[in-house]
Protein backbone atom coordinates (compact mmCIF):
# COMPACT_ATOMS: atom_id res chain seq x y z
CA UNK A 1 0.00 0.00 0.00
CA UNK A 2 1.03 3.63 0.60
CA UNK A 3 -0.01 6.43 -1.69
CA UNK A 4 2.24 8.91 -3.42
CA UNK A 5 1.50 12.06 -5.33
CA UNK A 6 3.48 14.61 -7.26
CA UNK A 7 2.53 17.89 -8.88
CA UNK A 8 4.72 19.95 -11.16
CA UNK A 9 3.31 23.25 -12.35
CA UNK A 10 4.14 24.44 -15.83
CA UNK A 11 2.02 27.57 -15.52
CA UNK A 12 3.35 30.07 -12.96
CA UNK A 13 -0.10 31.58 -12.57
CA UNK A 14 -1.07 28.45 -10.62
CA UNK A 15 1.79 28.72 -8.12
CA UNK A 16 -0.35 30.29 -5.39
CA UNK A 17 -2.70 27.29 -5.68
CA UNK A 18 -0.05 24.56 -5.27
CA UNK A 19 -1.06 23.63 -1.72
CA UNK A 20 -4.76 23.82 -2.54
CA UNK A 21 -4.24 21.49 -5.49
CA UNK A 22 -2.06 19.05 -3.53
CA UNK A 23 -4.39 18.70 -0.53
CA UNK A 24 -7.20 16.69 -2.20
CA UNK A 25 -4.58 14.56 -3.96
CA UNK A 26 -3.26 13.42 -0.58
CA UNK A 27 -6.68 13.09 1.02
CA UNK A 28 -7.88 10.86 -1.84
CA UNK A 29 -5.16 8.37 -0.87
CA UNK A 30 -5.98 8.32 2.86
CA UNK A 31 -7.05 4.68 2.76
CA UNK A 32 -3.79 3.63 1.10
CA UNK A 33 -1.75 5.19 3.90
CA UNK A 34 -3.56 6.13 7.10
CA UNK A 35 -0.47 5.94 9.36
CA UNK A 36 1.46 9.07 8.40
CA UNK A 37 1.38 11.94 5.94
CA UNK A 38 4.12 14.09 4.53
CA UNK A 39 4.89 16.45 1.71
CA UNK A 40 7.66 18.58 0.29
CA UNK A 41 6.81 21.97 -1.14
CA UNK A 42 9.17 23.84 -3.42
CA UNK A 43 8.31 27.46 -2.72
CA UNK A 44 10.00 30.76 -3.36
CA UNK A 45 13.64 31.12 -2.40
CA UNK A 46 14.04 33.87 0.19
CA UNK A 47 16.74 36.30 -0.90
CA UNK A 48 19.43 33.66 -1.35
CA UNK A 49 18.79 32.33 2.13
CA UNK A 50 18.57 28.66 3.01
CA UNK A 51 15.47 27.26 4.63
CA UNK A 52 15.79 24.70 7.38
CA UNK A 53 12.55 22.90 8.29
CA UNK A 54 12.38 21.58 11.84
CA UNK A 55 9.90 19.30 13.56
CA UNK A 56 9.24 19.06 17.26
CA UNK A 57 6.41 17.23 18.98
CA UNK A 58 6.82 19.80 21.78
CA UNK A 59 5.03 22.36 19.59
CA UNK A 60 5.21 25.94 18.39
CA UNK A 61 6.38 27.77 21.54
CA UNK A 62 9.25 25.39 21.99
CA UNK A 63 10.27 25.77 18.35
CA UNK A 64 10.23 29.56 18.75
CA UNK A 65 12.57 29.37 21.72
CA UNK A 66 14.90 27.03 19.84
CA UNK A 67 15.02 29.41 16.86
CA UNK A 68 15.83 32.35 19.15
CA UNK A 69 18.61 30.46 20.90
CA UNK A 70 19.97 29.17 17.60
CA UNK A 71 20.09 32.73 16.23
CA UNK A 72 22.13 33.90 19.19
CA UNK A 73 24.41 30.87 19.05
CA UNK A 74 25.34 31.35 15.39
CA UNK A 75 25.12 35.18 15.47
CA UNK A 76 22.75 35.34 12.55
CA UNK A 77 19.39 36.82 11.84
CA UNK A 78 16.83 34.03 11.41
CA UNK A 79 13.46 34.57 9.76
CA UNK A 80 11.05 32.21 11.42
CA UNK A 81 7.76 30.76 10.20
CA UNK A 82 5.89 28.42 12.51
CA UNK A 83 3.35 25.93 11.23
CA UNK A 84 1.95 23.85 14.10
CA UNK A 85 4.77 21.49 15.08
CA UNK A 86 7.06 22.55 12.24
CA UNK A 87 9.27 25.62 11.96
CA UNK A 88 10.96 26.99 8.88
CA UNK A 89 14.16 28.92 9.64
CA UNK A 90 15.43 31.12 6.82
CA UNK A 91 19.04 32.25 7.11
CA UNK A 92 22.26 32.57 5.11
CA UNK A 93 23.77 29.33 3.87
CA UNK A 94 26.88 29.29 6.09
CA UNK A 95 24.80 30.13 9.16
CA UNK A 96 22.43 27.28 8.24
CA UNK A 97 25.32 24.82 8.44
CA UNK A 98 26.21 26.18 11.87
CA UNK A 99 22.59 25.91 13.04
CA UNK A 100 22.47 22.27 11.95
CA UNK A 101 25.61 21.58 13.96
CA UNK A 102 24.34 23.57 16.97
CA UNK A 103 21.08 21.62 16.92
CA UNK A 104 22.82 18.26 16.82
CA UNK A 105 24.94 19.25 19.82
CA UNK A 106 22.33 21.09 21.88
CA UNK A 107 18.91 19.92 20.77
CA UNK A 108 19.33 16.40 19.40
CA UNK A 109 15.60 15.69 19.79
CA UNK A 110 14.74 18.33 17.21
CA UNK A 111 14.38 16.71 13.83
CA UNK A 112 15.48 18.46 10.66
CA UNK A 113 13.10 17.35 7.90
CA UNK A 114 14.67 19.27 5.03
CA UNK A 115 17.21 21.90 4.04
CA UNK A 116 17.44 23.89 0.85
CA UNK A 117 16.90 27.17 -0.89
CA UNK A 118 13.35 26.30 -1.85
CA UNK A 119 12.29 23.05 -0.18
CA UNK A 120 10.12 22.84 2.93
CA UNK A 121 9.18 19.39 4.25
CA UNK A 122 6.25 18.73 6.56
CA UNK A 123 5.53 15.25 7.87
CA UNK A 124 3.82 13.72 10.83
CA UNK A 125 1.86 10.70 11.92
CA UNK A 126 -1.86 10.90 11.21
CA UNK A 127 -4.35 11.04 8.37
CA UNK A 128 -3.76 13.46 5.48
CA UNK A 129 -6.73 15.68 6.39
CA UNK A 130 -5.33 16.14 9.90
CA UNK A 131 -1.74 16.93 8.91
CA UNK A 132 -2.91 19.19 6.06
CA UNK A 133 -5.03 21.19 8.47
CA UNK A 134 -2.36 21.39 11.18
CA UNK A 135 0.32 22.89 8.93
CA UNK A 136 -2.17 24.68 6.67
CA UNK A 137 -0.97 23.16 3.41
CA UNK A 138 -3.69 24.96 1.49
CA UNK A 139 -2.03 28.31 2.14
CA UNK A 140 1.28 27.20 0.62
CA UNK A 141 2.42 28.11 -2.89
CA UNK A 142 5.30 27.03 -5.07
CA UNK A 143 6.38 25.41 -8.30
CA UNK A 144 6.18 21.71 -7.48
CA UNK A 145 5.43 19.38 -4.63
CA UNK A 146 5.52 15.70 -3.77
CA UNK A 147 3.62 13.92 -1.05
CA UNK A 148 3.05 10.58 0.61
CA UNK A 149 0.48 8.74 2.69
CA UNK A 150 2.11 5.90 4.59
CA UNK A 151 1.10 2.38 5.53
CA UNK A 152 4.22 1.31 7.38
CA UNK A 153 6.06 -1.91 6.55
CA UNK A 154 9.82 -1.49 6.99
CA UNK A 155 10.05 0.67 10.10
CA UNK A 156 7.98 2.10 12.94
CA UNK A 157 5.12 4.60 12.65
CA UNK A 158 6.85 7.75 13.84
CA UNK A 159 7.12 11.30 12.48
CA UNK A 160 10.68 10.58 11.38
CA UNK A 161 9.58 7.40 9.58
CA UNK A 162 7.13 9.41 7.47
CA UNK A 163 8.06 10.41 3.94
CA UNK A 164 9.44 12.44 2.17
CA UNK A 165 13.04 11.74 3.06
CA UNK A 166 15.63 14.36 2.31
CA UNK A 167 19.33 13.55 2.20
CA UNK A 168 20.65 16.50 0.24
CA UNK A 169 19.82 20.17 -0.12
CA UNK A 170 16.57 20.65 -2.01
CA UNK A 171 16.39 16.91 -2.69
CA UNK A 172 13.73 14.54 -1.44
CA UNK A 173 12.10 11.22 -2.20
CA UNK A 174 8.79 9.49 -1.61
CA UNK A 175 8.49 5.76 -2.10
CA UNK A 176 5.81 3.14 -2.48
CA UNK A 177 7.15 -0.38 -2.04
CA UNK A 178 9.98 -1.89 -0.05
CA UNK A 179 13.66 -2.48 -0.63
CA UNK A 180 15.42 -5.67 0.39
CA UNK A 181 19.07 -4.58 0.17
CA UNK A 182 18.76 -1.39 2.20
CA UNK A 183 20.95 -2.62 5.06
CA UNK A 184 23.97 -3.33 2.87
CA UNK A 185 23.46 -0.07 0.97
CA UNK A 186 23.17 1.85 4.25
CA UNK A 187 26.53 0.42 5.36
CA UNK A 188 28.12 1.37 2.06
CA UNK A 189 26.70 4.91 2.17
CA UNK A 190 27.67 5.31 5.85
CA UNK A 191 31.28 4.58 4.89
CA UNK A 192 30.95 7.34 2.35
CA UNK A 193 29.86 9.88 4.94
CA UNK A 194 26.07 9.71 4.97
CA UNK A 195 24.31 9.66 8.31
CA UNK A 196 20.89 8.12 8.80
CA UNK A 197 18.14 9.16 11.18
CA UNK A 198 15.99 6.03 10.84
CA UNK A 199 16.00 2.32 9.98
CA UNK A 200 13.79 3.14 7.02
CA UNK A 201 14.50 1.68 3.57
CA UNK A 202 13.33 4.85 1.80
CA UNK A 203 15.86 6.99 3.62
CA UNK A 204 18.52 4.71 2.11
CA UNK A 205 17.08 5.15 -1.37
CA UNK A 206 17.07 8.93 -0.91
CA UNK A 207 20.68 8.86 0.29
CA UNK A 208 21.62 6.63 -2.63
CA UNK A 209 20.28 9.18 -5.12
CA UNK A 210 21.97 12.05 -3.27
CA UNK A 211 25.21 10.05 -3.33
CA UNK A 212 24.92 9.54 -7.09
CA UNK A 213 24.14 13.21 -7.65
CA UNK A 214 27.12 14.16 -5.50
CA UNK A 215 29.20 12.13 -7.98
CA UNK A 216 27.97 14.48 -10.68
CA UNK A 217 25.02 12.57 -12.10
CA UNK A 218 21.84 14.48 -12.81
CA UNK A 219 18.63 13.10 -11.32
CA UNK A 220 17.69 11.19 -14.47
CA UNK A 221 21.02 9.34 -14.65
CA UNK A 222 20.97 8.70 -10.89
CA UNK A 223 17.53 7.12 -11.22
CA UNK A 224 18.77 4.95 -14.11
CA UNK A 225 21.63 3.74 -11.89
CA UNK A 226 19.21 2.86 -9.09
CA UNK A 227 17.60 0.24 -11.34
CA UNK A 228 20.83 -1.76 -11.11
CA UNK A 229 21.73 -1.07 -7.50
CA UNK A 230 18.43 -1.20 -5.63
CA UNK A 231 16.82 -4.58 -5.02
CA UNK A 232 13.15 -4.65 -4.20
CA UNK A 233 10.01 -3.07 -5.47
CA UNK A 234 9.38 0.59 -5.71
CA UNK A 235 7.70 3.46 -7.33
CA UNK A 236 9.71 6.61 -6.61
CA UNK A 237 8.80 10.22 -6.99
CA UNK A 238 11.83 12.45 -6.49
CA UNK A 239 11.98 16.20 -6.07
CA UNK A 240 14.91 18.51 -6.78
CA UNK A 241 15.21 22.28 -6.69
CA UNK A 242 14.19 22.53 -10.32
CA UNK A 243 12.05 19.52 -11.06
CA UNK A 244 10.67 16.12 -10.28
CA UNK A 245 11.23 12.60 -11.52
CA UNK A 246 9.32 9.31 -11.52
CA UNK A 247 10.64 5.75 -11.68
CA UNK A 248 8.98 2.35 -11.30
CA UNK A 249 10.85 -0.91 -10.74
CA UNK A 250 11.14 -3.35 -13.69
CA UNK A 251 8.28 -5.55 -12.42
CA UNK A 252 6.05 -2.51 -11.82
CA UNK A 253 4.70 -3.96 -8.58
CA UNK A 254 3.13 -0.73 -7.45
CA UNK A 255 0.41 1.11 -9.32
CA UNK A 256 0.99 4.52 -10.85
CA UNK A 257 -0.84 6.91 -13.10
CA UNK A 258 0.14 10.25 -14.57
CA UNK A 259 -1.68 13.16 -16.13
CA UNK A 260 -0.42 16.08 -18.13
CA UNK A 261 -2.09 19.26 -19.30
CA UNK A 262 -0.66 22.53 -20.59
CA UNK A 263 -0.61 23.73 -16.98
CA UNK A 264 0.83 20.83 -14.98
CA UNK A 265 2.20 17.30 -14.77
CA UNK A 266 0.69 15.21 -11.99
CA UNK A 267 1.50 11.81 -10.53
CA UNK A 268 -0.77 9.65 -8.40
CA UNK A 269 -0.65 6.09 -7.13
CA UNK A 270 -4.24 5.93 -8.30
CA UNK A 271 -6.39 8.06 -10.54
CA UNK A 272 -8.50 9.05 -7.52
CA UNK A 273 -5.63 11.32 -6.50
CA UNK A 274 -5.87 13.20 -9.79
CA UNK A 275 -9.64 13.37 -10.09
CA UNK A 276 -10.00 16.84 -8.56
CA UNK A 277 -7.28 18.61 -10.52
CA UNK A 278 -8.45 21.46 -12.74
CA UNK A 279 -8.85 20.46 -16.38
CA UNK A 280 -8.30 16.77 -15.60
CA UNK A 281 -11.15 15.72 -17.90
CA UNK A 282 -9.09 16.92 -20.86
CA UNK A 283 -5.68 15.83 -19.53
CA UNK A 284 -3.56 13.16 -21.16
CA UNK A 285 -3.75 10.30 -18.66
CA UNK A 286 -1.32 7.39 -18.85
CA UNK A 287 0.48 4.74 -16.84
CA UNK A 288 4.26 5.26 -16.59
CA UNK A 289 6.24 2.35 -18.05
CA UNK A 290 8.34 0.15 -15.77
CA UNK A 291 12.11 0.90 -15.71
CA UNK A 292 11.61 4.16 -17.53
CA UNK A 293 12.80 7.41 -16.01
CA UNK A 294 10.39 10.31 -16.34
CA UNK A 295 11.78 13.69 -15.48
CA UNK A 296 10.44 17.23 -15.72
CA UNK A 297 12.60 20.22 -15.07
CA UNK A 298 11.78 23.90 -14.99
CA UNK A 299 13.24 26.12 -17.65
CA UNK A 300 13.49 23.39 -20.28
Amino acid sequence: MCGIVGLFLKDDRLSADLGTMLSPMLEALSDRGPDSTGFAIYGESVGGNVKVTLYSSAGAEYLKSIAARAGIAVSSRIDLAIRHNHAVLALPSAAADRVVEWLSQNEPAIRITGIGERIEIYKDVGLPAEVIRHVDLKSMGGTHAIGHTRMATESAVTPSGAHPFSTGRDQCLVHNGSLSNHNSLRRMLSHDGFTFDTENDTEVAAAYLSWRMRQGMNLGVALEASLTDLDGFFTFVVGTESGFGVLRDPIACKPAVMAETESYVAFGTEYRALANLPGIAKARVWEPEPSQVYFWERGQ
Binding site: E270, A275, V285, E289
Partner: protein, 228 residues
Amino acid sequence: MRRVDLAETPLRTLNAELHEQRGKLTHGEWRIANPNGMHAVAVGVDAPLSIEIDGHVGYYCGGMNKQASIRINGTAGPAVAENIMSGSIHVRGDASQGAGATGRGGLLVIDGNASARCGIAMKGVDIVVRGNIGHLSAFMAQSGNLVVLGDAGEALGDSIYEARIFVRGSVKSLGADCVEKPMKAEHQSALVGLLARAGVTDVSISAFKRYGSARKLYHFHADNLGSY
Protein backbone atom coordinates in the same frame (compact mmCIF):
# COMPACT_ATOMS: atom_id res chain seq x y z
CA MET B 1 -32.41 5.08 -19.10
CA ARG B 2 -31.34 5.07 -15.45
CA ARG B 3 -28.72 7.75 -14.70
CA VAL B 4 -26.55 7.57 -11.61
CA ASP B 5 -24.11 10.30 -10.59
CA LEU B 6 -21.44 8.87 -8.32
CA ALA B 7 -20.67 12.36 -7.06
CA GLU B 8 -24.05 12.15 -5.32
CA THR B 9 -24.98 8.47 -5.06
CA PRO B 10 -22.80 6.19 -2.92
CA LEU B 11 -21.07 3.45 -4.90
CA ARG B 12 -22.59 0.74 -2.72
CA THR B 13 -26.05 2.02 -3.57
CA LEU B 14 -25.29 1.86 -7.29
CA ASN B 15 -23.85 -1.64 -7.10
CA ALA B 16 -26.78 -2.85 -4.97
CA GLU B 17 -29.23 -1.44 -7.54
CA LEU B 18 -27.35 -3.15 -10.34
CA HIS B 19 -27.41 -6.46 -8.44
CA GLU B 20 -31.17 -6.13 -7.92
CA GLN B 21 -31.63 -6.25 -11.69
CA ARG B 22 -30.80 -9.93 -11.61
CA GLY B 23 -33.99 -11.84 -12.38
CA LYS B 24 -36.24 -8.75 -12.23
CA LEU B 25 -35.03 -6.39 -14.85
CA THR B 26 -36.53 -2.90 -14.53
CA HIS B 27 -33.87 -0.76 -16.23
CA GLY B 28 -31.97 -2.11 -19.23
CA GLU B 29 -29.82 0.94 -19.83
CA TRP B 30 -27.60 2.66 -17.29
CA ARG B 31 -25.40 5.71 -17.52
CA ILE B 32 -22.94 6.37 -14.71
CA ALA B 33 -21.25 9.74 -14.20
CA ASN B 34 -18.26 10.86 -12.10
CA PRO B 35 -16.60 7.52 -11.25
CA ASN B 36 -13.42 9.57 -10.50
CA GLY B 37 -11.22 6.51 -10.12
CA MET B 38 -13.46 4.71 -7.63
CA HIS B 39 -12.82 1.02 -7.08
CA ALA B 40 -15.26 -1.80 -7.91
CA VAL B 41 -17.67 0.17 -10.09
CA ALA B 42 -20.35 -2.16 -11.53
CA VAL B 43 -18.81 -5.28 -10.03
CA GLY B 44 -20.78 -8.50 -9.88
CA VAL B 45 -23.56 -7.57 -12.30
CA ASP B 46 -25.62 -10.56 -13.42
CA ALA B 47 -28.25 -9.24 -15.85
CA PRO B 48 -28.34 -8.29 -19.56
CA LEU B 49 -27.80 -4.59 -18.90
CA SER B 50 -26.12 -1.98 -21.02
CA ILE B 51 -23.96 0.17 -18.73
CA GLU B 52 -22.04 3.21 -19.88
CA ILE B 53 -19.54 4.81 -17.51
CA ASP B 54 -18.37 8.35 -18.28
CA GLY B 55 -14.93 8.87 -16.79
CA HIS B 56 -11.94 7.02 -15.38
CA VAL B 57 -12.45 4.04 -13.08
CA GLY B 58 -10.16 2.53 -10.41
CA TYR B 59 -9.55 -1.10 -9.50
CA TYR B 60 -11.75 -4.05 -10.51
CA CYS B 61 -14.36 -2.30 -12.68
CA GLY B 62 -16.82 -4.83 -14.08
CA GLY B 63 -15.28 -7.67 -12.09
CA MET B 64 -17.14 -11.02 -12.23
CA ASN B 65 -19.47 -9.59 -14.84
CA LYS B 66 -22.21 -11.84 -16.22
CA GLN B 67 -24.34 -10.89 -19.21
CA ALA B 68 -23.96 -7.11 -19.02
CA SER B 69 -22.31 -4.94 -21.66
CA ILE B 70 -20.20 -2.32 -19.90
CA ARG B 71 -18.52 0.55 -21.69
CA ILE B 72 -15.98 2.75 -19.94
CA ASN B 73 -15.45 6.16 -21.56
CA GLY B 74 -12.09 6.67 -19.90
CA THR B 75 -9.17 4.69 -18.54
CA ALA B 76 -9.45 1.71 -16.22
CA GLY B 77 -7.33 0.97 -13.15
CA PRO B 78 -5.89 -2.42 -12.17
CA ALA B 79 -7.78 -5.65 -12.87
CA VAL B 80 -10.63 -4.33 -15.01
CA ALA B 81 -13.00 -7.20 -15.88
CA GLU B 82 -11.32 -9.45 -13.34
CA ASN B 83 -12.88 -12.90 -13.51
CA ILE B 84 -15.41 -11.82 -16.13
CA MET B 85 -17.85 -14.71 -16.77
CA SER B 86 -19.82 -13.49 -19.79
CA GLY B 87 -21.05 -10.30 -21.43
CA SER B 88 -18.58 -7.66 -22.56
CA ILE B 89 -16.48 -4.83 -21.21
CA HIS B 90 -15.15 -2.14 -23.49
CA VAL B 91 -12.50 0.28 -22.23
CA ARG B 92 -12.28 3.30 -24.52
CA GLY B 93 -8.93 4.43 -23.04
CA ASP B 94 -5.99 2.55 -21.51
CA ALA B 95 -6.23 -0.23 -18.95
CA SER B 96 -3.81 -0.75 -16.08
CA GLN B 97 -2.32 -4.01 -14.83
CA GLY B 98 -4.06 -7.37 -14.79
CA ALA B 99 -6.84 -6.53 -17.25
CA GLY B 100 -9.16 -9.52 -17.67
CA ALA B 101 -7.28 -11.51 -15.02
CA THR B 102 -8.67 -15.03 -14.53
CA GLY B 103 -11.57 -14.23 -16.89
CA ARG B 104 -13.79 -17.26 -17.56
CA GLY B 105 -15.76 -16.05 -20.57
CA GLY B 106 -17.16 -13.01 -22.32
CA LEU B 107 -15.23 -10.32 -24.17
CA LEU B 108 -12.89 -7.55 -23.01
CA VAL B 109 -11.99 -4.87 -25.56
CA ILE B 110 -9.40 -2.19 -24.77
CA ASP B 111 -9.05 0.64 -27.28
CA GLY B 112 -5.79 1.95 -25.82
CA ASN B 113 -2.87 0.12 -24.21
CA ALA B 114 -3.06 -2.48 -21.46
CA SER B 115 -0.13 -2.54 -19.05
CA ALA B 116 1.52 -5.50 -17.33
CA ARG B 117 -0.06 -8.90 -16.79
CA CYS B 118 -2.97 -8.46 -19.20
CA GLY B 119 -4.96 -11.70 -19.30
CA ILE B 120 -3.02 -13.28 -16.44
CA ALA B 121 -4.44 -16.73 -15.67
CA MET B 122 -7.21 -16.23 -18.24
CA LYS B 123 -9.57 -19.18 -18.36
CA GLY B 124 -11.80 -18.64 -21.38
CA VAL B 125 -12.21 -14.89 -21.78
CA ASP B 126 -11.48 -13.29 -25.14
CA ILE B 127 -9.41 -10.10 -24.92
CA VAL B 128 -8.79 -7.69 -27.80
CA VAL B 129 -6.33 -4.83 -27.24
CA ARG B 130 -5.94 -2.19 -29.94
CA GLY B 131 -2.72 -0.80 -28.47
CA ASN B 132 0.21 -2.51 -26.75
CA ILE B 133 0.32 -4.85 -23.78
CA GLY B 134 2.86 -4.87 -20.94
CA HIS B 135 5.14 -7.54 -19.56
CA LEU B 136 4.05 -10.98 -18.36
CA SER B 137 0.75 -10.86 -20.21
CA ALA B 138 -1.18 -14.15 -20.48
CA PHE B 139 0.97 -15.53 -17.64
CA MET B 140 -0.28 -19.06 -16.91
CA ALA B 141 -3.14 -18.57 -19.36
CA GLN B 142 -5.40 -21.61 -19.57
CA SER B 143 -7.92 -20.95 -22.33
CA GLY B 144 -9.48 -18.16 -24.35
CA ASN B 145 -7.92 -15.75 -26.84
CA LEU B 146 -5.71 -12.70 -26.44
CA VAL B 147 -5.52 -10.50 -29.54
CA VAL B 148 -3.08 -7.58 -29.60
CA LEU B 149 -2.99 -5.11 -32.47
CA GLY B 150 0.15 -3.41 -31.16
CA ASP B 151 3.25 -4.80 -29.46
CA ALA B 152 3.69 -7.17 -26.53
CA GLY B 153 6.15 -6.63 -23.65
CA GLU B 154 8.57 -9.04 -22.03
CA ALA B 155 7.80 -12.68 -21.18
CA LEU B 156 4.59 -13.02 -23.16
CA GLY B 157 2.65 -16.16 -22.28
CA ASP B 158 5.03 -17.26 -19.54
CA SER B 159 4.16 -20.76 -18.27
CA ILE B 160 1.13 -20.81 -20.52
CA TYR B 161 -1.09 -23.91 -20.38
CA GLU B 162 -3.31 -23.27 -23.38
CA ALA B 163 -5.06 -20.16 -24.76
CA ARG B 164 -4.27 -18.60 -28.12
CA ILE B 165 -2.33 -15.38 -28.41
CA PHE B 166 -2.37 -13.30 -31.61
CA VAL B 167 0.01 -10.35 -31.86
CA ARG B 168 0.23 -8.04 -34.86
CA GLY B 169 3.27 -6.04 -33.74
CA SER B 170 6.52 -7.04 -32.10
CA VAL B 171 6.97 -9.30 -29.08
CA LYS B 172 9.78 -8.18 -26.79
CA SER B 173 10.30 -11.72 -25.52
CA LEU B 174 8.38 -14.94 -25.03
CA GLY B 175 8.04 -16.46 -21.57
CA ALA B 176 8.87 -20.03 -20.61
CA ASP B 177 7.12 -22.63 -22.77
CA CYS B 178 5.45 -20.05 -25.02
CA VAL B 179 6.28 -20.45 -28.72
CA GLU B 180 5.25 -19.05 -32.06
CA LYS B 181 2.92 -21.40 -33.88
CA PRO B 182 1.79 -21.59 -37.50
CA MET B 183 -1.22 -19.55 -38.51
CA LYS B 184 -3.52 -22.09 -40.12
CA ALA B 185 -6.85 -21.43 -41.81
CA GLU B 186 -8.76 -22.29 -38.64
CA HIS B 187 -6.78 -19.72 -36.67
CA GLN B 188 -7.26 -17.09 -39.34
CA SER B 189 -11.00 -17.58 -39.27
CA ALA B 190 -11.01 -17.54 -35.46
CA LEU B 191 -9.06 -14.28 -35.55
CA VAL B 192 -11.45 -12.75 -38.09
CA GLY B 193 -14.33 -13.68 -35.78
CA LEU B 194 -12.65 -12.21 -32.71
CA LEU B 195 -11.87 -8.92 -34.45
CA ALA B 196 -15.44 -8.70 -35.74
CA ARG B 197 -16.85 -9.29 -32.25
CA ALA B 198 -14.60 -6.53 -30.94
CA GLY B 199 -15.79 -4.16 -33.65
CA VAL B 200 -12.35 -3.94 -35.24
CA THR B 201 -12.95 -3.56 -38.95
CA ASP B 202 -9.96 -1.51 -40.06
CA VAL B 203 -7.23 -4.11 -39.65
CA SER B 204 -6.01 -6.90 -41.93
CA ILE B 205 -5.15 -10.20 -40.28
CA SER B 206 -2.12 -10.79 -42.50
CA ALA B 207 0.44 -9.31 -40.10
CA PHE B 208 -0.67 -11.28 -37.02
CA LYS B 209 1.43 -14.06 -35.58
CA ARG B 210 0.10 -16.78 -33.32
CA TYR B 211 1.68 -17.86 -30.05
CA GLY B 212 0.77 -20.67 -27.71
CA SER B 213 1.98 -23.40 -25.45
CA ALA B 214 4.87 -25.73 -26.34
CA ARG B 215 3.30 -28.06 -23.73
CA LYS B 216 6.65 -28.99 -22.27
CA LEU B 217 5.95 -27.81 -18.75
CA TYR B 218 2.66 -29.60 -18.23
CA HIS B 219 4.37 -32.26 -16.18
CA PHE B 220 7.53 -32.08 -14.16
CA HIS B 221 10.51 -33.29 -16.10
CA ALA B 222 14.04 -33.11 -14.75
CA ASP B 223 15.38 -32.04 -18.17
CA ASN B 224 13.24 -28.89 -17.97
CA LEU B 225 14.58 -27.84 -14.60
CA GLY B 226 16.08 -24.68 -16.01
CA SER B 227 12.67 -23.51 -17.23
CA TYR B 228 10.75 -23.85 -13.98
